[in-house]
């Protein structure tokens, strides 16, 4: 771990030693989902996993191999899957439904609203292949509005894990929550920058870097870009605090407000539409409780497109150079 970074890093966060080295291990967050399902499934026999013809790419196959009697293939029928799961939950089970986020919670949004959220049914929704980093498949398969769709539903919780290790913890944690949860996963391999020792608690944001000039609040694998930006800014004498806000709903108001009241400048970072996403959620909170300048890194009211993940992340302004610019901009706006 680079020396400067080590100084800023919150020792309690236990980030990976190799965090900024070229050979850092990369694994898709969806793998963490598959592993989490197996772990949760061993502990809790009530857990069932439903899949809409995407068992390999959602990694629900890990569970299928281990517990075939508790795996339910529903075919290409996401609407049916959501309501089947609601019925199963009402009969005492803990069903996880797995598909691409564009289809679930995309296509089946009303079924989730009525039969899962309004029923307060104990259903977990796993949206894989979220964000533009899906890459060549293009806009139809790049869910950029799923956080927004789920965040506005009463009873629903929203978790966006930052790497495969956290994804596994989040999946296990979701299984233990009584009530609906949305979990968001990505297709691409992304850096494993947390460790088994990194704390994860549903609803609690973690301070990954301590700083005093500005706060970056991020969720999902782009949190890595935020850390990289903070690391480079430190070399330029700018001290940035970085929060891992994996739980987008409910937001950890306490941790966010504590940090923001100290730094008085905020940049949010996410691989999702700014409208309705983490940026929207943070802006709603701060406008009420601690109005300070906020800059949002995220997708700006457009659909995705085909390309390599790296190309797209840069073209959509989601990489560390863009985050650095946003931090500098917000610092200029600081009163």
């Amino acid at each position: 771990m680079a020396k400067l970074f080590q100084n800023m890093s919150n020792s309690k966060a236990h980030l990976a030693e190799k965090i900024f080295e070229k050979d850092i291990e990369k694994i898709p967050t969806r793998n963490g989902y598959g592993e989490g399902l197996v772990e949760a499934g061993e502990k809790d026999k009530r857990i069932l996993v439903l899949c809409a013809d995407l068992s390999e790419s959602t990694r629900s196959e890990y569970f299928q191999k281990k517990f075939p009697e508790r795996f339910v293939e529903v075919g290409v029928a996401e609407q049916n899957m959501a309501s089947l799961a609601a019925g199963m939950a009402l009969a005492g089970k803990v069903p996880f439904i797995s598909s691409y986020a564009a289809f679930s919670p995309g296509r089946n949004n009303e079924q989730i609203r009525t039969t899962v959220a309004l029923n307060n049914a104990n259903v977990k929704i796993a949206g894989a292949h979220a964000g533009i980093s899906v890459g060549p498949d293009g806009a139809t398969h790049q869910a950029l509005e799923d956080i927004a769709l789920m965040r506005v539903l009463p009873n629903m919780r929203v978790i966006v894990p930052c790497d495969a290790i956290e994804a596994k913890k989040a999946t296990v944690a979701a299984a233990a929550i009584e009530g609906p949860v949305y979990l968001r996963f990505a297709r691409e391999k992304t850096p494993l920058f947390t460790t088994l020792q990194t704390p994860f608690q549903f609803g609690r944001a973690e301070i990954f870097l301590q700083g005093k000039d500005a706060t970056i609040i991020a969720c999902g694998p782009v949190l890595y870009e935020a850390l990289l930006a903070a690391h480079l800014l430190e070399k330029q004498g700018v001290s940035v605090e970085v929060l891992n806000s994996h739980t987008v709903k409910p937001l950890d108001k306490k941790t966010i407000l504590q940090s923001v009241s100290k730094t008085k400048a905020v940049v949010t970072v996410e691989e999702h539409q700014i409208a309705g996403g983490l940026g929207g959620a943070v802006a709603e909170l701060l406008s009420r409780e601690c109005p300070v300048p906020v800059e949002c890194i995220g997708v700006q009211d457009r659909f995705g497109e085909s390309g390599s993940p790296d190309e797209l992340m840069d073209a959509f302004g989601l990489t560390h150079p863009h985050i650095i610019k946003a931090v500098k901009k917000v610092l200029k706006r600081k009163v």
């Binding site: 069932l48 009697e69 508790r70 339910v72 529903v74 075919g75 029928a77 609407q79 049916n80 959501a82 309501s83 089947l84 799961a85 609601a86 019925g87 199963m88 939950a89 009402l90 009969a91 005492g92 089970k93 069903p95 009303e110 079924q111 009525t114 039969t115 309004l118 029923n119 307060n120």
Partner: protein, 296 residues
Amino acid sequence: MIKRQYSIEELEKIANEIRQDIIKMLVEAGSGHSAGPLGMADVFCALYFAVMNHDPKNPAWEERDRLILSNGHICPVRYATMARAGYFPLKELMTLRKFGSRLQGHPEREKLPGVETTSGPLGSGLSQAAGMAYVGKYIDKTRWRVYCAMSDAEQESGQIWEAAMFAGKNRLDNLTAIIDRNNIQIDGCTEDVMPLEPLKAKYEAFNWHVLEIDGHNLEQIIDACNQAKAIHQKPTIIIAQTIPGKGVSYMENDFKWHGVPPGISDIPGEPPKNQQVKIALKELRTLHGKIVSEHE
């Protein structure tokens, strides 16, 4: 648990009381659906008083049979039947659709114990029933059965057929669905809006056992539900031919009464609004004039 055996005559009398409750509730609420609830009074009466294992004093009883109402808008019939069965006092029926009531305009599981699920948006009940039946048959291997009441018009929605495929594939023989085949929907007759026939052949093609009955003949309703219990390796669908607005002559078979209560508005070709409730209740009370001793 309701253990008492009711005679067909007794059941008919209860169904008639349920219809009168429905009219009174709708009038008090000032809005709501008339045709569907009246048309399904016999089916609901049969389910709660002769078919299902359930306990009005313990709605969460693990071993109960589950009744999913998919077309939530006909909930007045479910509420009235539940009250008659002893789930809650009859007078609470008069709170239908009012602020703070447990009897929401469309039924909500979180509000009223015994309502197995929240419904209103059409087409999702069969999926939930299939999910429960799957748990019952394969995961917990229970003895309870799942019933799902649906409208005919909601057969137009795609999710129904996703669920029908799933139930057929998984041979959910603990699932009995009942279609209220009343041939009307908001915009007109089902066969004009979007033809459903041949409905029987469609479900058979999806690997269901299909029964067609007179949905106002209590004996046929009970027999069909019992026959479904004897069918192995297939879910059963009962296509119940019903008369929308059954029991109130001016409402019967008239789609104008799908979504409005009596006594609210003057409708061309219908009795004047100040007469509608009176006529409806009198017809039900006197069984269409068969009881002649009633004077007003």
